[in-house]
Subunit: 131 residues, 2 copies
Amino acid sequence: MSNQEFVVLGQDGPGGCCPGLLTAPLAEDQAVELAKVFKALGDPVRLRLLSMIASRAGGEVCVCDLTPAFDLSQPTISHHLKLLREAGLIASERRGTWVYYRLLPEMTDRLAAILTRPAGEPLPEPTEALS
Amino acid sequence: MSNQEFVVLGQDGPGGCCPGLLTAPLAEDQAVELAKVFKALGDPVRLRLLSMIASRAGGEVCVCDLTPAFDLSQPTISHHLKLLREAGLIASERRGTWVYYRLLPEMTDRLAAILTRPAGEPLPEPTEALS
C-alpha cells in the first residue's frame, strides 16, 4: 500500500492490460467494459460452454459437439455462444456446415490478472490500518 | 456479519479448489455456484464498489465513504453491497451508526486461480490438435 493515491487505471488504453480491480478504484468506463465480460460469465450454461471449449484437446470445438451436453435448443446454445463471443472470450469460425469455437486466452488472462493480488503485497487487514 | 455464508466452489470436493474453468468441463452444480459470483461482478457499480473496497489503505471502508462516489441513493448502494456480500466477495461489520466493508480475498484468489492457465501448459492451438 505504498503509492496508493487512487491513481486512475488503464494505462494501456480502454480496457488496458490490467485495470487492477484490487489495487485502485476502477474508472467508470473501465467498470462498464469489464462488467460486460463478467456478466457474460455470470450464467451457468455459458460457464459450462466456456469450460468445454477451453479444455478441449485440439483447442476448438464444433457447436455440434456442444449442444448435446445441454437440454437446450441449438438456437439457445448459439445465443449463449454469441454472448461469450461478444465479450471477447471466444472466437468462432464457420467451416462447411458447422461453426467451430475456440478460447481467446488473452481475455481470461486479463481477468485472472486483474483479480490477482499484487505480488508481495498482501491486502491489509483492518487491524493494520495505515490511516 | 463476519460469518459469511460462503457457499463455494467445493474446494475439497470433486473439482478441487479450483474447478479449473480452463482445464476441464465444469460440473453443472459448480457452474451454478460460480455463475453467481461472476454475476455479482457483472455490474459496473458493483465492480467500482469492489475496487474501492479492495484498494482502500487500511483494508476497510465505511459505507458513508462509498456512497458519495455515486449518483445513487444509499439504499441502492447498500443493495449492490449486499449482492457482493452474498457472493462471498466482501464482508461487512456494523460499528455504531455505520457499516464497514472489507474484501474477502479468498474469493478473488479463487476466481483468479480458475481463470489462470495451468502453469507451463499453454492452451493448445487448433493447429496442434491432439486428436
